[in-house]
Structures are given as C-alpha cells and as structure tokens.
Symmetry: C2
Subunit: 245 residues, 2 copies
C-alpha cells in the first residue's frame, strides 16, 4: 500500500491544534476531509505529534496510506492544496517505506518561538509572536538556557495535567538570538512534553525580566515542580520548525 509522507505548513491561529477533537476545527481533520474527498474514501493521517491550539508549523510531518494512489506524486501537493484553506499548505509529498510512521519514526524536533520585544507590537506580528514590551536581558536568558541543554527530567516544564510517565528528554540545542526587536528561541530535542517549549520560553522570559536567576534553572529542573518554573508562553509565538527522521 503506497505510504505518503506529507510536509505541512500552517497558520494555527484559527484552529484548535493538530489533533482531531470532538468539537471544533483542527488541522488533522481539515487535512483528513480534504484527502478523503480527493481519494473518495476515508483517509486517516498520522502526525509527528500534536501541536496545541493556536500553534503554527513551518514543516509539520504526517503520513497516510492509500490504494490506489491514482494521482502522480508530483501533482499531489497542488491537488491537496486546492482542497485545503489557504492557512494550511502542503509543501512536499514523498513516497516512503511501508514502515514509516510520522510519529514513531521521528528522531528529533525543532521548535521556534518568536518574541516581539518592542514597545508597540506591529499588527503584522500580532498573530505570530508573543508581545513582551519590557526590557529583557538576553545574556541572562542565554545563561539560563545553557542549564536546560542535555538530558534532564523536564517534569517541571511539562503541563501539570499531563499524564506522561517518562518525563526525561534530551535538549540537543537551544539558542536565543535577537534581531532588531524580535527574539528567536530555537529548541531542538528528541521529544517534547506537553507545553514544554512554551513553559521553557515563559521561564526564560522571567529570567530576562530579572524575576528568576539564571542559576535557579538547575533547581527548577531538580524540583520536578511545575509551579517553580515560569508561566506558559502564549501559543501564537510557537512554530514547529522541523521534524528529523
């Protein structure tokens, strides 16, 4: 059965996240209805993982199987895009091995978080960045980030309602760059707990504001206590940038 890997870019503003819900519009069900219409049979897609309501993606990955494929692979992106709203775009289609599974085969993911650190936020970034008007000490934020790098128990940075048992993850890379009034936080890890990226950014912003000492990060990790870390940064600044297989 042909197994197709899709690369998907989406503006998550108007969606309740990736995962299908009982009520409300999600990326997954919008994509599944488009594919089911095209192939005239029910099609299920497997995403690399969930993204929360309002979170965006530059290159989310999903796969689906269908038989017969009927449509030449090269034409598939434009055929699917014609059946999708403009805030979801297929940027690539690939035929992959039968055992490829977008979720289970994922080796690492990279998230980008955008902070708009200007007095007045541009209306053109309001959907795509967290507006933090107060001054932020980037050097301190970078020092704090260094303590997050590596293999740690990230329970303190996981949503308190999460039921995941194994909360150990490895952050392979975490960088903070300032460009004009925009601050970009890039985090690459072998996996992310629920709201982990946003809780890390919320904590780093508290460090930048001087509310948390950079060295305190070590103790927050050891505490495994969600209340010790900073608040969850809003969804609109977060982008799933890349999934590596």
């Amino acid at each position: 059965m042909p197994n197709i890997k899709l690369t998907i870019s989406y503006d998550g503003t108007d969606y309740l996240g990736w995962q299908k819900q009982k009520k409300g519009k999600t990326i997954q069900d919008t994509l599944e209805s488009a594919l089911s219409k095209i192939f005239k049979k029910p099609v299920k897609v497997t995403g690399s993982g969930r993204t929360d309501a309002g979170v965006h993606a530059l290159a989310q990955v999903a796969n689906f199987t269908v038989k017969p494929l009927r449509i030449p692979l090269a034409k598939l992106p434009s055929v699917i895009n014609n059946a999708l709203p403009p805030d979801i775009r297929i940027t690539g289609c690939e035929l992959v091995d039968e055992d490829f599974n977008a979720r289970r085969s994922a080796k690492e993911k990279t998230y980008l978080y955008v902070i708009s650190n200007s007095v007045v936020q541009s209306p053109f970034s309001a959907r795509y960045a967290w507006h933090v008007p107060s001054p932020l000490d980037i050097k301190k934020m970078k020092r704090a980030a260094r303590h997050l790098k590596g293999r740690h128990d990230f329970k303190a940075f996981s949503a308190s309602d999460s039921s995941t048992e194994n909360t150990i993850r490895t952050i392979k890379k975490i960088t903070i760059e300032k460009n004009g009034t925009e601050i970009f936080v890039l985090i690459t890890a072998n996996g992310f707990l629920k709201q982990m990226a946003r809780n890390i950014v919320g904590t780093l912003v508290d460090v930048g504001r001087g509310k948390i000492d950079p060295e305190e990060i070590k103790n927050i990790l050891l505490s495994r206590d969600r209340k010790r870390a900073g608040k969850c940064a809003p969804a609109n600044g977060l982008f799933l940038l890349n999934v590596r297989y």
Copy 2:
C-alpha cells in the same frame, strides 16, 4: 484646540477599509470609538485618505482635535493602543499646527504591493501578499513601469465607478524588486485615484505574464479606458507605506 497627528499601522484583513460605513467594521470607526471612550466625548478623525477593504497600512496618518487633552502626549499612544484591538496600532502621536489636516496637507503617498511568486504560497503570507504562481518577467515589468512614471492622465487605471473629475496624477517613483520568491512594487505619487495602485499592479503582472506588451502601457494611458488595463490586483497585497507632508 490641540491638534494631534496620529501614525497608525493596521492589518486590514478583517475591516471594510478605512472610511466609516453605514454597516460593518472599519478602521476609522474603530479608532473613533476608542478615542471617544478615552476623551469621554465624540471625537472625529480625518485620515490622509481612504484605504479599500482588506488593504493594510504601515503608516497611515490621521488627525483629530480635542480639548482638553488631559493625557500627556508621550503616554497617548499606549493609552489609545490599550483601547484598540491588536490589529490596529498607534505608532506615533505628535502635536501639530492647528491648520494641519491629514487629508488636505498630504503632499505624497507611497504604496507597497507584495506579490508572492512561489508555486505554493506560505500560509504566513496568505493575508499579506497576492499569490501569483506563474513565472513573471521582471525585466518586462520594469520596462512597463517606466512608462507610468511622471505626470499622466491615469483614468485607465482608476476604478470605473469613480466619479473623480481630475484624473491627472504624478507618479514620482515606481520600483519593482524581487527578493527570493517575493516581488515588491513601490509606487510614490502626489495622489492616487480609486484602486489606482491595484490596477497598476494587476496590469504589471499581465505584462510579466506576457499578456500585455510593456510598450502598450503608453497606449493604455492615452486610451483613458479602464478596460484596456489589467485586472485589479487583490486588496490583501497592498500596504499604505507612508504619507509625506
């Protein structure tokens, strides 16, 4: 009576344009209700000109008079921004001469038009650029633009329902630049007729596609016939960039 000049940036996607309408949300009435609430009396604003439904602004200019001002000028932008939705932002406030009128005092305006010339349009530019997937000959477009520069009767590029009698305007500068898959058209003129910028861009794209010869622009201008020019480019790619006084 203090006369205040406002510089305003807005994402026009969800508005019926600048100008107050009998029905529906516009930038002007959203701004006027915010100011009326702040000053606890009806406040009217004068904009540099209308922008059509869906058109954006990086620096629209408007003025209003109010007495007493009560609020220190330096605090005014943040006070007004707190009363506005995030898709409209005040980026500057200035005290100006009593005879300053944002519309009548305007000497020239610059519009930016963004074309997304990629096979698949990014969902993040869908609100802010016209998607033209077909190849465009930029050199031909530049040659065509040269014929538009200067003082001409732009009736052929004015909305057919416009009642403006004097259709002579001077384009002081018109440039076309390609950066990656994005094409930027910048037009500076002493004034713009209704839909003039969008009709020019629609015509330039027809030139780029090879449907209109660059030299034909001279004849289109002379014809004064709207039907001879290209179609009106969509509103979402247009930004009022600057108003000079």
